[in-house]
Symmetry: C2
Subunit: 210 residues, 2 copies
Amino acid sequence: MRIVIPLFDGFTALDAVGPYEVLKMLPGAETVFAAETAGPVRDSAKTLALTADAAFGDITACDVLVVPGGRGVRDFLTDPGLLDWVRRMHATTTWTTSVCTGSLALAAAGLLDGLTAASHWSAAEDLNELGAVYTGERVVFHDEQRIVTSAGVSSGIDMALALAGRIAGRTTAEAIQLMIEYDPQPPFDAGSLDKAPQAAKDLLTAGLNR
Amino acid sequence: MRIVIPLFDGFTALDAVGPYEVLKMLPGAETVFAAETAGPVRDSAKTLALTADAAFGDITACDVLVVPGGRGVRDFLTDPGLLDWVRRMHATTTWTTSVCTGSLALAAAGLLDGLTAASHWSAAEDLNELGAVYTGERVVFHDEQRIVTSAGVSSGIDMALALAGRIAGRTTAEAIQLMIEYDPQPPFDAGSLDKAPQAAKDLLTAGLNR
């Protein structure tokens, strides 16, 4: 089972690494990070590079595609070659998935037309403009279309565990959850627009490092 | 505020990237991945490399040290030069932290003598043998010693948010939590030894890909 995670300049590292850490433990998993050219690819903050071991052109098929988000996804959206690659991969996958604004790439590739989909909360309008229907749900499965989208950044862990359950069964997914000791205990309760206090939202509007 | 994340062959990527994604958003944060030599460093599965932009020898001080775990930490533990580097960093930090079996490195460096500490559940005995006192808590703060340890892999996100709150105040930490949309909704409830069903534990004993 080949799992491919595309990288692009300005991706968000946790979007990619959360699902990677879960899916790589699936029986028979072979995980490949890919990019336009093989080599290091910088994240949105430019302080971390992940190595792509393959170029997009080297990969003609995969079982699971995991498209991360990040500010750099905007460039990705306007590259017809990349969107065509996403479409060609999707034609071969069992599951095509996204984390955070990665769903914008799936939408721009025409894979989410008229479908409900998750994304980072800040990208709701953009997602709708690309033909999908934003929902605040954390993980959205469309079995018939073989598509799973998930919300901002950290949601990729929840998505990947749910997907692991679909692919390999509940017990395997639970074993992976135990292995990564995913028993979340956030010290605050501000992880969604509904829950975050206004002061925290105001601070984001003013701008944090990203 | 300089945040340093040391890498070594066989680290666990999510241990490093979870806290990175949180702490890099702190006001004034400058995050540096470091390793024995600068360049790509492979994780425990060898299917992902993160780039170290600095060598340990280039770094003489930092405000926050985040030591990840992973199977490769075993080699790290027996390298007197590396343990000496950890001790020298700790002499300069405001907070010295670990995720997963990263706490074994802190213990081997003599920083956890007689202190309660968290680690991956599978490393409890090893941690105790190195002079710390394993606890199943997810995040353990020792304010006087300026040390924070956290449990397996995914716990680094909880640790980093709690630390962000200590460093920059609750509202900033909440804004970061909202930015990474950390509103966990695990599809299963198997994230600790207490919660995981026996069948999942048996599967781990039999061996998963790692």
